[in-house]
């Protein structure tokens, strides 16, 4: 195999890890609260700016700045739920989607207000690893590993703890949760914080590889929704697999054509898939 193609495949896998993390966060929120946060990727942008601000502007070490950013975005997630979703939980789903669309505008503009529209870089140079003729960016490798680790931790949380089990249960039967002594409002809030936390983690991984600017969410947001739907909205395993399919299309497609056309390809595949298999790869047919 062509070494550059191999590199594209490897990069695709590495990208897939972070996309899977994002899809997982969005899926969690969709599965539990039944809303699509259109502004999910903008929360990632907020996290990236937080790290930039802490690390590059104020010199807070990265190993401190990253957890702080995760907490910050987790709190943002809770605020999104409390201030925007919770008041309109009973209205048409499309309204909730649009309200978070308003949030998208808000966050983009607010970031512009605070930081301007320039591309910002945390200015950290990480080494390139050479394996034979293969060049792999250390930042990407680390992002991939940490993303996987994050997903394992989340999985253990969902599997082992009471709250985690409740989060999985609530998507299966919302109404009777009360009989179990579960306060759905609390579960929603915890889920929103978790979703935010995952976005925060993703932001810490992405800021190592990409410049941050107010509109960076647009480069991750749409593809994340597509991955969730492709995997089956609410299905976490499906989202995981779909993330790697999409990332391969983007990476290998980008290798053969251009990055934009590879996204076009990914979106077209998504459109076709939704007609052929609307419940997604691993979705449950309702």
């Amino acid at each position: 195999m062509d070494i550059f193609l191999l590199e594209a495949v490897v990069n695709g896998i590495l990208l897939g890890g972070v996309l899977a993390l994002l899809a997982l966060g969005l899926n969690l929120i969709f599965g539990v609260i039944d809303v699509v946060w259109i502004a999910y990727a903008e929360l990632v942008m907020c996290g990236m700016y937080a790290i930039y601000w802490l690390y590059a502007v104020h010199g807070v070490p990265l190993f401190l700045a990253a957890p702080m950013a995760i907490v910050f975005v987790a709190i943002l997630g809770m605020l999104v739920h409390k201030l925007i979703i919770s008041p309109i939980l009973g209205s048409a789903p499309i309204n909730q989607l649009l309200a978070t669309g308003g949030l998208l505008f808000f966050l983009q503009s607010f970031a512009t207000l605070l930081f301007g529209a320039d591309f910002r870089n945390i200015g950290l140079r990480l080494p390139i690893i050479e394996i034979g003729d293969l060049f792999i960016s250390f930042a990407r490798l680390m992002a991939f590993s940490v993303a996987l680790l994050g997903m394992v931790v989340l999985w253990l949380f969902l599997k082992r703890t009471y709250v985690g089990t409740a989060i999985r249960a609530i998507a299966q039967d919302r109404e009777i949760m009360v009989l179990m002594g579960v306060d759905p409002k609390r579960v929603y809030l915890i889920t929103s914080a978790l979703g935010g936390g995952l976005a925060g983690l993703a932001s810490a991984l992405l800021v190592l590889q990409y410049d941050v600017h107010p509109f960076i969410g647009l480069s991750f947001g749409p593809i994340t929704f597509m991955i969730c739907v492709l995997g089956g909205l609410g299905s976490m395993i499906g989202g995981f697999v779909a993330a790697f399919i999409m990332s391969q299309i983007i990476s290998v497609g980008g290798f053969y054509t251009s990055i934009e056309l590879s996204y076009v390809l990914a979106f077209l595949l998504f459109i076709v898939m939704i007609f052929v298999r609307p419940q997604g790869l691993f979705g449950v047919k309702s």
């Binding site: 009471y162 009989l179 002594g181």
Partner: protein, 234 residues
Amino acid sequence: MLEVSGLEAGYGSFRALHDVSLTVAAGEAVAVVGPNGAGKTTLMRTVSGLLGRRAGRIVFEGTDLATVPPHRIVELGIAHVPENRRLFPRLTVEENLKMGAFSPAARPHFAERLEWVYSLFPRMRERRAQVAGTMSGGEQQMCAIGRALMSKPKLLLMDEPSAGLAPVIVDQVFDLVRRIRQEGFTVLIVEQNVRQVLELVDRAYVLEVGTIGKSGTAAELKSDPAIREAYLGI
């Protein structure tokens, strides 16, 4: 233990219950019987907090349930085995049981109660790792009862435990209920299967289109000519 008085409840503009009063004393087993659509399920849902009440009072061991948020009612000691079992279909049996022990008071006792439920229903121990939705109806009913027992309730509400099950399984389910009684639980049970449930309980109420009609001991109702004709088919 449970006093319901002047209860009114419904969905939207539909009033399913009006002026329902009943009591359940500690250690008793009480049935509510009646035709389809009489409001039996509504009654159970209102007591356990799934549905808000419009008027009247529900008092459990001296606490007015109106003052308690719905998700805390289980902590007071009321567990509800809902109509159609309502297990979490994609969770395992053990995870379903774990959800039954969700309330803070129950969590420390999870291991011992799990052991206890498994000893009551050895079948559940065999199926502990199976996904609940793939079990047979009778097994699911066991799991649903087990889940309710995990909170060690003082009062167990059971809504049509025999519904949708094959006759052989129905007998098994009624055996289960009998065993739960023997364990000393107070039970309020709603059933369509009037003949079998009257063999099981101390007293019964007849719910007719939203309000209580007759009531009395099981023996009284069994010998009541109107009941015999309407529900026992004699």
